[in-house]
């Protein structure tokens, strides 16, 4: 049975500029223990969607079922009890700035009237888990963004939640810190089997840790499915757009090659002005009847002349590798052999 079920959820907001339909008849099922991504451009309604899961926003229409029970049927007190089992982290961390790291993590436990000593013990264990035990007496203002998010994660875990909601949790962080936070979330998912719902506008986040993804646009779900499938066969325009943006940023981060291609030799080739007119790569493949992988292609300006720059990968057990290199050189193409995968 799905742990979280959204049934035909709609939500409208009245703003100064008129009525905004944040969610239009959205249905979604999230399974126990999976990491589910909800991605969309800003204003697509994804933040509203995640707030419906713990009823921070009450949908105008439709049902939210957690473990088969509708949140609507709960009394105010029962709803508060239910929320204790649904942790949440935010883009701007939302820590108590006037309290120490330890007291922040204790906070949800104090709400549940857990005795102080017991709460502190638990909080210290969680800080150990997120690697910040030595900062327990620091105040949030003394921490970096990544550290603040780790504290927020420890706080969200304090009440042993079954579900963890992440609202743009890595959007305020740099790429390295983002990766480390995502690893931590993955660890938590593995270790405790917590269902994680990740709201983001970054496809890279979805690609790195999500099992399934829902793509949102204008308050509706454009596409849902396994991350691999959506990536390889995006059906909708918005999905294609998000994936393309992701690939663009990834190329800058130089990680693409390591993930998509298996281990052949990588070379960098540079076209001169003359050779750019001829379909060299196509002819190369036709001549040797052996595929090469184009990992990246771009033009660069060398001394005022536009030059084509391409990263190729040969098949792992290429029979014609050396002959192919020779062929390229004969066509006035410069080759840099054995390019390190990390520096592409």
């Amino acid at each position: 049975m799905s742990e979280i079920v959204l049934e035909n959820i709609s939500k409208t907001f009245e703003t100064k500029d008129g009525t905004v339909e944040a969610l239009k008849n959205v249905s979604l099922e999230i399974d126990k223990g999976e990491i589910y991504g909800v991605i969309g451009m800003s204003g697509a309604g994804k933040s509203t969607l995640v707030r419906c899961i713990n009823f921070l926003e009450k949908p105008d229409e439709g049902k939210v079922l957690i473990e088969g029970k509708s949140l609507e049927d709960y009394s105010k007190k029962e709803l508060q009890k239910q929320r204790e089992r649904i942790g949440m982290i935010f883009q701007h961390f939302n820590l108590l700035m006037q309290k120490t790291v330890l007291e922040n993590v204790c906070f949800p436990l104090y709400i549940q009237k857990v005795p102080k000593k017991q709460a502190r013990k638990k909080a210290e264990e969680l800080l150990e888990l997120v690697g910040l035990l030595e900062k327990k007496n620091a105040y949030p203002a003394q921490l970096s963004g990544g550290q603040k998010q780790r504290v927020a994660i420890a706080r969200a875990l304090a009440s042993d939640p079954k579900i963890l909601l992440c609202d743009e949790a890595t959007s305020a962080l740099d790429p390295q810190t983002t990766s480390s936070i995502l690893e931590l979330l993955k660890d938590i998912n593995d270790k405790f089997g917590i269902t994680i719902v990740i709201i983001t506008h970054q496809m890279s986040v979805v690609r790195k840790i999500c099992d399934r993804v829902a793509i949102m646009e204008n308050g509706t779900l454009a596409e849902t499915g396994k991350v691999g499938e959506v990536f390889s066969h995006p059906k909708t325009k918005v999905a294609k757009r998000l994936i393309r943006e992701d690939i663009d940023t990834e190329t800058e981060e130089n990680i693409l090659a390591t993930e998509l291609i298996q281990n052949g030799e990588i070379i960098r080739i540079t076209f001169s002005e003359n050779s750019a007119f001829e379909p060299v790569i196509a002819n190369l493949v036709l001549t040797f009847k052996e595929p090469v992988n184009i990992l990246r292609a771009s033009t660069k300006n060398v001394g005022g002349i536009a030059k084509g720059d391409m990263i190729l990968e040969f098949a792992k057990d290429s029979a014609h590798k050396e002959e192919m290199k020779k062929y390229l050189r004969e066509h006035e193409i410069e080759i840099e052999e054995n390019v390190d995968r990390e520096v592409i």
Partner: protein, 219 residues
């Protein structure tokens, strides 16, 4: 002309001023703090919007704050008599001081609480906190620095009001300044009391700011 009697009178005046100011501030917060919390909470962007309650408190606060203190002092003499039994002296002055201070304090509390980052409140709500806990454990804690600054401002203002009460026999340093300085043309005594009033305000301001910044953990 500077006799021991005058010295002891001034010392007594300082005592009365402190008594009126601090007692009125304390009583002012006793009523003003809850009123300010209700204003912040019931506002349309608050955690429990209630247009009717907000409007009632809003109107009360505005009416009282728009009456000049001297007028208020005279206006509520019947109430003062009812509560204290007389209308002159330091204790009697506390009544109008509190009446004037409550809406003023409520407004400052309201604005302090509204500064609290909504995200933190939302986080607490997501953790299962009810409104009362959010007010006590989140809003009042996060607004601590601003609230203490507010107390400092309240003390300074109430001290000024208490001096004004001197004109109608309220006691304290203001009373002395009016009686000696204004009616008897003894400006040296008036200057002395004014200097003392300035020093008192400075003292409260310095102490208040010290605690406000000492207890601020945001930097």
């Amino acid at each position: 002309m500077w006799t021991p009697e005058i010295t002891s009178m001034i010392v007594k005046g300082i005592g009365e001023t402190l008594y009126m100011t601090l007692f009125s501030t304390a009583l002012g917060y006793l009523f003003g703090l809850p009123m300010g919390v209700l204003l912040a909470v019931s506002d349309k962007d608050g955690i429990a919007p209630n247009a009717v309650l907000y409007k009632i408190l809003d109107v009360i606060a505005n009416i009282v704050r728009s009456i000049p203190f001297l007028i208020l002092l005279i206006l509520i003499i019947p109430l003062t008599r009812l509560l204290v039994g007389k209308s002159t002296g330091s204790t009697a002055t506390v009544v109008p001081l509190v009446v004037a201070a409550v809406p003023f304090i409520a407004r400052m509390v309201e604005s302090s609480l509204k500064e609290v980052d909504y995200g933190v409140i939302e986080a607490a709500r997501a953790m299962g906190a009810g409104n009362l806990r959010i007010i006590i454990k989140v809003m009042l804690v996060e607004a601590r620095t601003s609230l203490i600054t507010g107390v400092t401002i309240a003390i300074g203002t109430i001290l000024g009001y208490s001096a004004m009460a001197g004109t109608v026999g309220g006691g304290g340093l203001g009373d002395i300044a009016i009686r000696y300085g204004y009616y008897r043309y003894q400006s040296d005594i008036m200057i002395a009391t004014v200097v003392l009033l300035v020093l008192l305000v400075q003292l409260f301001q310095t102490v208040g700011m010290f605690f406000a910044s000492r207890l601020d953990k945001r930097k």
